[in-house]
Symmetry: D2
Subunit: 327 residues, 4 copies
């Protein structure tokens, strides 16, 4: 849990941001803020006419609030951030901030394609209450996004961000793995506190943990499918789409790992793999939202061009949950 | 949502398009506008402080105006459109429109990630003077962008666009090839007039030409490297980054192809492959802009996170031009 | 056509090989043998019990002998060479040699994984009557097959081969594109006469033609799908699986290209793309063999683990021919 | 075809396997043999003239014999099996069998491209003393190697093999991941006992363990880089190239995992990642053999076309060991 000293720093950072004296977050004594734990990357609910449904968002958060999550990721890939306007992105974060208890960390996705836009969005996210910014790699020109370019980008963002920065590598969407050497270099920045790695390569995750071991740098697994394995190699938490529907189970898996109950952890992990794949790689956000409907949350439609599932896909999705005993 | 003022403008744009006789277009009687020819995808000049430099943009256009281009692509991948704000995107198109003679076609890149944003941007592009909209495939969720999703997306955009729509497939950036069956279906839409295909697979280009032969559908090669081969299989033009620096030569290659002088065309094509690769896949927009500086245009810096070339890269870039007799 | 001088050299090379004084083929005055033209890569017929059916092989060759092919490729990818023993590979080549008129070129696939085995197979292929050896890139360790390794491999093979060597790049099978710089270096070897390139990237084909223009080096397109485009950028022929079933048409396409009848060539090329894809990438050798059965040749079964087509696949295969007017 | 003598031997081998109590195997009552543990995939030593050096092979085995390995893999990817003749492959296995104590399991790689050749090689491997056959996926026609083809292939091999079969999936070499559904189907075959999975995707490994949990099916990690994570999700051992040089350490990592000392395991695992990558993906067999030279084994040259490391590569290789405290 965040101690009083850390939260004091957070608040200082926030107030600095609000008073427009942007220029780096300093947590005293060089310790970075602790982001360990489980985070659902919340979806953005839409009405039938594709407007953001803030009421449903708050209802979902209220229901999710019963689980021992460390916090929430807002505007991650599952939040359909590329489909929101800048003001919608900020409004969503603002509403989540208001709906959350102060002890829940709000990680806000603030990545844009240009460095400048990312800096501006990050500052704005801080202003509306984000505790840290999760910054996805720029990707349209991924052929040019070598280590030098990415180090420059993230350094600039972290220099100017009033809140801590979490790197975010999600090759399935971006076509780009943030190179390990870039991660290691960036881990030395005082305002970069960790990485969310969604690639699923635990050799890489282990190597990042190993090579940043002197940097107080934290790795979050980007999916529930390799959460146990990530803990085993040194990750400290996870941002798991599946936690939107099986929140208790993902938190239980965390607890089993942290308390060294590896056999039970393994059994639970096994039963989460297919459901996790179903709501991520296999059926994407439409699959996740459909499942949310089943589990008592509001899923609802995605914005176009994302399409709802066909009947056959829905059946396959359901089977991935029933065959593992979750429905 | 689009407000009344916007839709009023949309209708004006639409009526202008329908009644337009610009560039020999005859859009009555179901014939689609003729977009054949060569287009440079213009770069967006920036000042040293990364502001759009509209003066330099106009100077470049003035110099490029001496070549027999059919028109210009604005806000294509080479225009760094993902790094511009919406208003910058529109302002750039507006300025280009003002700088261009009326007989030059202005193809404006209006693609966004969501269908709704793409519709709005397309409508706005029409308002500021674009003759047609070039719409890149949405890509962040490319794992979900199957034919059904893309057909739905483009149909919606074409239904609501006051100007003709050109499909745009550029897998090197998007990780996504617009599937041939989707292209064939979309070719039947009265407001979809063609495709810019940057993938370089001429078997695919030939197949698209073949399967849309009854649809008055036009294929533009997306790069000068396979321009001759594209003409040979039925393409009617090209959008060629290289035309920003070797405009006369790319137009000459077009002429040689159109007049059946294939031997000379081949010799010229050969000498353009390495320079073309250098300013596209190999060194990207930084390479293109550096070369523009050499050839008397304003290249200047890119916006971050794109980085300028190293001295070694610059030397390799130069060699690709000198070894082929262009510098 | 091969003139008497060339064939005299071939015979000299062969006799040298037979007398075990292997060490390079010298065609006098430095001119390389002319391999331009169309080649079907013949399939290997098997009986119901998976034995090589030499009788059917000869029957197929007899029927194919009516078309103006320049020669035949034996033991290419379509010959299922990885499924044959060394002695079967040689026996097949030997039988084909006996069945062919002397003026047809026999290109024999002699590639193996190790350099030593490739050299031995190449020498043996020469002994049983191959006119030239087509040597596929080694591929199991493709992660290590950089330019240096491949240049070393092919140089060794060419040094020791009694017959001319044709490079063979087929990334769909090998996961490896023979790098252009390696091709350019190897084109300078007196016993390397050309390349069969099956990758389908005509920008690359054009570049190879351009950069080897002083080397008397010949490029053969590896598939009928991009044959016209390859001619347009300087290829001199093709090795086309489709020629096993539409031999007249592929030869006609060649003639149209060589005589500059590009419009007719384009129409014919268009109608060959889908059938070609069907018997190569889409349905593989099982598709090719099934189609051979339809066209009056012996196709028959493949060796396991290749499987025959399902009824649905067979129907889709047939549609690719009927919809283009070939069945 | 297999002759009577061979089949007699086959039957003997089969009966030996069935009655065997080697290594705690109990193959009566439908239980599959236990293959859990660590295996080095031994390299094939060559002389300066590229002959197999059986003396050095035995010396290496003698040195490796001091570690608590469960057994040895012979003719895996690290054994350069594609570069050996069939008789060399068998002779190597035969020599290893003679050099090994009876309680060490000998897993022999017997995969070939055709099903028939694989069956014959598997039978022969059994005859020369292999305890089980490790069968790599056929790969040259990987585009056709769907689940149906692979299930058919492995079922045929397992039906006719006198020794248990271990599936082997190594996408870095083959371009092919044996599909999970095929693995699950094949796990039900009484003569298929497990899989060596070298892909490094632990989500997949966990899923395979989960979906074969009722089949007495065993998963071996194919590399030391994800060994701990694999144990964490239910693997029972590993085939680790790194065990050829850091045998004690890999066995220690196994022990730490099996005894639940996860913190120490993690620290050790971390220090093995870079050395492991160096002798596998980064520098391949040439890197592994060079390192063997450093650690007191005989590495020696590879067969061409594999090339020895450059001085710069050698230095980088060394750094991966020194920086982790192993040299």
């Amino acid at each position: 849990m965040l101690g009083p000293r850390v939260w004091s720093s957070v608040r200082q950072g926030l107030s600095r941001a609000l008073s427009s004296t942007v220029g780096g977050w300093a947590s005293g004594e060089g310790r970075k803020v602790d982001i360990s734990g489980i985070y659902p990357p919340v979806t953005t609910p839409f009405t039938a006419t594709a407007e953001v449904d803030y009421g449903k968002l708050e209802e979902n958060l209220h229901k999710l609030g019963t689980f021992p999550f460390r916090g929430f990721v807002v505007q991650g890939s599952n939040g359909e951030f590329p489909f929101l306007t800048s003001s919608e992105r900020l409004e969503v974060v603002s509403r989540v901030r208001q709906a959350l208890p102060r002890d829940k960390i709000l990680l806000a996705g603030s990545g844009c394609e240009s460095t400048q836009a990312t800096v501006e969005m990050t500052v704005s996210m801080a202003q509306v209450g984000a505790d840290a910014a999760m910054v996805v790699t720029p990707c349209y020109y991924h052929g040019r996004m070598n280590s030098a370019a990415l180090i420059h980008h993230y350094t600039k963002v972290a220099d100017l961000s009033p809140i801590p920065v979490v790197l975010y590598s999600v090759p399935a969407n971006t076509g780009l793995d943030l190179p390990v050497d870039a991660v290691v270099t960036l881990s030395q920045h005082p305002n970069i506190v960790g990485i969310k790695d969604s690639g699923g390569d635990v050799t890489r995750i282990g190597l990042i943990v190993h090579k940043t071991r002197r940097q107080d740098f934290q790795v979050l697994a980007g999916s529930a499918g390799f959460l146990l394995a990530s803990y085993a190699v040194g990750a400290v938490g996870g941002v798991c789409a599946l936690a939107n529907v099986l929140g208790a189970q993902v938190c239980q898996l965390e607890r089993l790992c942290l308390t060294g109950q590896w056999e039970d952890a393994q059994k639970l992990q096994h039963r989460l793999i297919e459901p996790n794949t179903a709501v991520t790689r296999r059926f994407g956000i439409p699959g996740l939202k459909k499942t949310m409907d089943w589990f008592g949350y509001y899923g609802g439609p995605c914005r176009a061009p994302l399409r709802e599932l066909s009947a056959a896909q829905e059946e396959a999705l359901r089977l991935d949950f029933t065959s593992n005993g979750w429905l």
